[in-house]
């Protein structure tokens, strides 16, 4: 699979749990089964291969409406950009523990998108400044969540449910329910085109530009932050055991606050991406239908992030996104019309419940908590 080489699969932080290799003389088969059942990364990688190969087989049998080839897989990655970024935002927040969760990311996307629309589309700010300011605005929204959760002590579910309503409402009211789609905004659509990768571009398909401008930098920075910086260490520590973290002299509140603010910042960046995708700053972006928060949380959980905090890796989230995106891409080819998008819901739900149940089962069977 040439395409799978492009999947950014950075290793997780060292402190992540590593089930000890079977010391007893287990057979290779038993050890492989154990690895698949207990290590989320392995499981996801296997599933991705299974999904892609199945579709390739279906394609060869002529059951799909269009070819499921590397070009298609690559093009479908554009859907991974907002999904993976928001799932990374949820990763940060859920890692911070004490029932950490952020229901408001979709609403922050909507509100920041409108702010970006004003700054870039109406006030004529330079693009870089508007992007930075939008990210900053998103961080501010996230900081409100962080303040309520970390400093006041609100349960995260409640605080972010409240701000979800508030941000969503403001996004719609701020421009009298109308989208902003002035010429500068419309031209942003070019950001979503696919480009050829230099040097090796001839051998592999073109890749959506958003992967390079937004997704990869976010993945890289979040990974560095979690795996290589003192902040990442503190976040894992706070999420694992905030009492022990306090006794170890770490700033528990500030660390947890930071997770929410960063999630807001990433949501601000996603706002720019969605404005470019729609070629319009839409007040209901991120909150229409099922919203963006629920799929992002689903992806994070599928990626092995423990809802109790302290466990979760960037690689898991990225692989889970790829699995869902390529699974969905195939579903669109297997079913016609709206059927496709409906089966995507089914796939997401079944995969999530199955993964969660499997987690519980593997935990009891092998005595490890993934």
């Amino acid at each position: 699979m040439s395409t799978s080489t492009q999947a950014p699969t950075p290793a997780g932080p060292d402190p992540a749990p590593r089930p000890a290799a079977a010391e007893r003389g287990d057979s290779i088969g038993a050890r492989a089964l154990r690895a698949v059942l207990t290590q989320r990364i392995t499981l996801l990688a296997v599933l991705i291969v299974v999904v892609v190969l199945s579709y390739v087989a279906l394609d060869a049998g002529g059951y799909l409406t269009a070819p499921y080839d590397p070009d298609y897989l690559s093009a479908s990655l554009i859907n991974a950009v907002p999904l993976a970024m928001l799932a990374l935002a949820e990763l940060l927040v859920i890692l911070s523990g004490r029932g950490g969760i952020d229901l408001s990311v979709g609403a922050i996307v909507a509100l920041s998108g409108m702010v970006f629309g004003f700054m870039y589309g109406q006030w004529g700010w330079p693009l870089w400044l508007a992007v930075v300011a939008t990210a900053g605005f998103g961080a501010l929204c996230g900081a409100l969540n962080g303040f309520l959760v970390a400093y006041i002590g609100f349960p995260a579910l409640i605080a972010t449910l409240a701000t979800f309503y508030a941000f969503k409402s403001l996004a719609i009211v701020v421009n009298q329910q109308s989208p902003i789609s002035t010429p500068p905004i419309q031209e942003l659509y070019s950001l979503t085109r696919s480009v050829e990768i230099p040097v090796i571009g001839g051998q592999i398909p073109d890749v959506p530009l958003g992967i390079f401008t937004f997704l990869l930098p976010t993945v890289l920075i979040v990974w560095l932050l979690l795996a290589r910086t003192t902040y990442g260490r503190r976040l894992y520590a706070v999420g694992t055991n905030d009492v022990a973290s306090l006794w170890a002299g770490q700033p528990v509140r500030a660390t947890r606050f930071g997770a929410y603010a960063l999630a807001g910042l990433i949501s601000g960046l996603v706002a720019v991406v969605t404005v470019a995708q729609f070629a319009s700053a839409r007040p209901d972006a991120g909150v229409s239908g099922n919203g963006m928060a629920l799929p992002a949380i689903t992806i994070a959980v599928l990626g092995g992030v423990a809802i109790t905090g302290g466990i979760g890796r960037v690689a898991g989230v990225v692989l889970a996104t790829l699995l869902i995106v390529w699974l969905n891409a195939g579903i669109l080819l297997a079913f016609v019309g709206n059927e496709g998008s409906q089966y995507q819901l089914l796939a997401l739900g079944v995969v999530l419940v199955a993964a969660a149940l499997l987690n519980g089962f593997a935990g009891r069977r092998y005595g490890v908590a993934d």
């Binding site: 605080a159 409240a162 969503k168 949380i297 019309g337 409906q342 089914l346 739900g349 419940v353 519980g360």
Partner: protein, 344 residues
């Protein structure tokens, strides 16, 4: 001891003392806030105080309050159900299609919707009680599955020409007796039953014990799994009934947005009503008041001529204020106990 004077007879005083007061602080505050809003709206907007404005408000409160009663029980046990919106869609579309196809009588339509809801609740309950996975993850999953099922039944088409069988619970004249909407009365009736059950039966109290400490509850001989299963099934049944209200409130057609985002509206009503998201504490009375408050805000914003979406901002603020007040009360309670301990 005389038994002649009714106000001082031993029976009532004894009864009054065996249980904590039936209405807690948060509920009284909610009543006061709602009353205040009604007065202010009546004074500032000419139309609000009319029956034509209050009746739709009560009708619109009913489905959220009804689903909220189930959600309250679920949250008391320490769980949550974010699949309520998906359940509503399935129940509503199944019932609407059946009404169109078979012209069901009212009881049959109700029974069908409630049965479908109960079935979906059973799926949630079984997975949560026996799967040992946190409720929020399971219901995120089942939400997607329910949406799929609902959309499949819709088959990409709006359901049109729904007969007016359910108008007994609708907005129209047929939905009222003496000016009071039936949907709201039925909701109050069910809330009263739920309130009684939660307050006066062993099964009801066990929900609270499980939310307080599931492990200790198991050691005390409580059937924890059975109770958790029951909480989700009841939620499903009530969502089924709420879905009938939604059909009745609409026009003769039902589109695919039915139930959209309702899980968050229901959770908001429960939380504003004073039920603790950490489990072990809550009341259905508060939830009904919470739903009424949310609808009053929605209605009030429209009446005042403000953009209707602004109501969500106020809902958000109300959640923060309601839960914030609860946090402060908890903190005060801990401080008081510490002071008492130090004084001893």
């Amino acid at each position: 001891m005389t038994t002649t004077a009714p106000p001082t007879s031993p029976r009532p005083t004894r009864r009054a003392r065996v249980l904590p007061p039936p209405i807690a602080g948060q509920e009284l505050v909610l009543v006061a806030v709602i009353a205040l809003m009604w007065v202010v709206l009546a004074l500032t907007t000419p139309a609000f105080a009319s029956a034509g404005s209050i009746q739709p408000l009560l009708v619109a409160t009913a489905p959220i309050a009804l689903a909220g009663i189930g959600m309250t029980i679920v949250i008391i046990t320490g769980g949550i159900d974010v699949s309520v919106g998906g359940m509503m869609m399935v129940c509503a579309v199944v019932t609407a299609k059946a009404l169109v196809a078979f012209e069901l009588a009212l009881p049959l339509a109700l029974g069908l919707s409630v049965a479908v809801g109960g079935l979906l609740g059973l799926v949630n309950g079984l997975l949560i009680a026996y799967g040992r996975v946190h409720a929020i993850i399971i219901t995120f999953g089942t939400m997607n599955v329910f949406l799929f099922v609902g959309l499949q039944i819709f088959a990409s088409r709006t359901v049109n020409g729904i007969p007016s069988t359910l108008q007994f619970f609708g907005r129209g004249v047929a939905g009222r007796t003496l000016g009071v909407p039936h949907a709201f009365v039925l909701t109050l009736l069910i809330a009263a039953i739920a309130w009684w059950y939660l307050r006066h039966t062993a099964g009801g109290r066990h929900f609270y014990a499980i939310g307080g400490d599931a492990q200790a509850a198991r050691l005390a001989g409580i059937d924890v799994r059975g109770r958790i299963l029951a909480a989700y099934v009841v939620t499903g049944l009530l969502v089924g009934l709420a879905s009938c209200f939604l059909i009745a409130q609409g026009t003769s057609s039902l589109d695919q947005s039915v139930g959209n985002g309702k899980e968050l509206a229901v959770i908001a009503a429960v939380v504003i009503g004073g039920t603790s998201i950490m489990g072990g504490r809550g009341s259905v009375l508060g939830t009904v008041l919470g739903a009424l408050l949310v609808q009053t805000v929605t209605s009030g914003v429209t009446q005042l001529g403000w953009p209707s979406q602004l109501s969500d901002l106020f809902v958000g603020i109300f959640i923060i204020v309601a839960v914030g007040a609860d946090l402060l009360r908890e903190r005060a309670r801990r401080r008081r106990l510490r002071a008492k301990g130090a004084a001893a």
